[in-house]
Symmetry: C2
Subunit: 348 residues, 2 copies
């Protein structure tokens, strides 16, 4: 079969669905539409929904054009699958309406992720959590989704006891406006002009800063770090896994990276770990010391796969049970839109 014929066959397997995208004009929303388009999701129709001020915008889609509609209580009539990416308060308000209208909701916000009755899913890791016909499925935090892609292939062979992570997070995690602010503030810097940040709390041009979520006064971790740690445990079904993350924003547009220190319950050889990773769907090992070629945002951006490299034995663990590694994945794809569409595909 030609690729075009294969695609037609794949589409024919499942009945076409009516899909709504809530937050269609945001950074993730645009990628949700792009994923639906290029992955040949069996579509009967696509309804892009956004705030009233975006209503009427045209979006090119599969050779035609979609018109953005204002999100409202009646937006979900006839919708089979609703992909939400418009923030937690919109999800809390509208997801129940979408479910009441008969839709299955895949929600990219944090609204339902830690709800014990809501599955939190990265299909390569815990597709089994989709059993039981759930009506709302939560799509994880972007760092958590990318981290578990690297951790699960290892954890499946040698249980992971502890993870220490330091992240290098892109602008896209704060939305399209943050990406624009990174570019505009950098252009201003290079032109020697002043720039007043409006989207993020700190200057972003050639600067890095601690993630701009509220810091828990009791333990000193910020909201992003807490989400990552809680969600990794939930997705991996490992409530006793010990984690500590430091989440830092770096001036990169759309791919997150992280340095992970991973302690196992027994010594694991780096070559063995690389083999496990190389065999994992959605993971590509980029680990070429001779060429100094390792995962980096410029290569992860626009890629579905999560890149893993710098795999080596942690020299600070005399028992040899700890590996260090460096991971990079597209925040808008595996960290958000791609994973949501993969969840919808798994539900078909």
């Amino acid at each position: 079969m030609s690729p075009a014929q294969s695609a037609l066959a794949a589409r024919a397997k499942a009945a076409p669905r009516h899909v709504a995208v809530v937050g269609a004009t945001g950074a993730v929303g645009r990628e949700l539409l792009a994923c639906l388009e290029r992955r040949d999701f069996p579509l009967a129709s696509v309804r892009p929904l956004a705030s009233p001020r975006s209503a009427g915008q045209k979006i090119a889609f599969r050779g035609g054009e979609l018109t953005v509609e204002a999100l409202g209580p009646d937006s979900f009539q006839g919708v089979d699958v609703a992909l939400f990416s418009a923030g937690a308060s919109i999800s809390r308000q509208y997801a129940p309406l979408a479910v009441a209208a008969g839709a299955v909701v895949v929600d990219n916000s944090s609204a339902f992720r830690m709800d014990p009755d809501t599955p939190l899913v990265v299909p390569e890791v815990n597709a089994r959590a989709l059993a039981g016909d759930p009506r709302v499925i939560a799509n994880p935090n972007c760092v958590a989704a990318i981290a578990v892609m690297a951790l699960q292939p290892l954890h499946a062979r040698a249980p992971v006891r502890r993870v220490i992570g330091a992240t290098y997070q892109a602008a896209s995690g704060a939305g399209a406006a943050a990406m624009a602010e990174l570019e505009a503030s950098t252009a201003a810097y290079l032109a020697g002009e002043a720039f007043e940040p409006k989207v993020l709390p700190h200057p972003y041009a050639f600067n890095i800063f601690s993630h701009n979520t509220t810091v828990d006064p009791d333990n000193g971790y910020n909201g992003e770090e807490t989400k990552v740690m809680d969600e990794v445990r939930k997705i991996m079904g490992a409530p006793d896994m010990r984690l500590s993350f430091t989440c830092i924003r770096v001036p990169v547009l759309r791919a997150h990276a992280m340095a992970l220190t991973v302690e196992f319950d027994r010594p694991v050889d780096p070559d063995e770990a690389r083999e496990w990773l190389a065999g994992a769907p959605g993971v590509v090992v980029v680990d070429d010391p001779a060429a100094n070629h390792f995962p980096m945002p410029v290569e992860a951006s626009g890629q579905d796969d999560v890149l893993v490299g710098r795999v080596r034995r942690d020299l600070s663990d005399p028992e040899g049970r700890t590996l260090a590694m460096f991971v990079c994945g597209d925040q808008l794809l595996k960290g958000a839109a791609l994973n949501a569409v993969q969840i919808a595909e798994a539900l078909l």
Copy 2:
């Protein structure tokens, strides 16, 4: 006394010295001259030395003008203190000539750092290593110098057993040409133009990458990481301290940052650690969770002090012996030029 009078009194305490700066036109060399200028180092003369192609350049200095001379075997006649920052091979070739001419050498390269007979010094940490009239003193790797400023005030009260570090390193560590490449490649990106990197091996605009030093095929750590780990142990006089660093280059111009996970031999309270840090010379605690204000390059750049914040108990250590923290310091100042001039001052 007025500040001007204090400065005069300080200068009068030591006899003026004839100082040479090797690599005077580089990123660190320019900062060496700036530190000598603003710190009222007791100067009889300053001789800026560089490669023949830079000879004849004029450098403004204390209201006058210095002329760059080509480095040669006779450059050190009459020199009391020679500050080297022109790479390890220049140091290996010319430091012995400077010493033979009667100068004390403070060397910013890696040439002599791990030589057991050469002191490796951060004055706030191990000024005692300057005893015994050494003729060559090594100035540490920039990450090591900044890291020990945050580690030593803690280690002095509660011995540090293990450090896991992930760095966010600025362009300046690769020299003035790398800083220029970061700006030029970013400008090209924003203009939608192609850019071929010449100084660094990877695209730098809105990208991060593993430090571009050779990776040890035996253990997978790169040269920068190995330097940091070895030098921290040597400066702190802690040969058994266990370290693991991941060194990453980020698109920042001149301040390094690092996420440190620090394990002690006993539980340490974050408030206690902050007190110890706040009392340490050269360290400023920047740790305001309510304002989401923590150390960042835009505030560390141009500052002598090393900024420390995000101090919190590592949630992945159930025994409570581990703290997480975030550190930021100017790579060209405490990471290089300032520390070298401080060493020279300590020798006076």
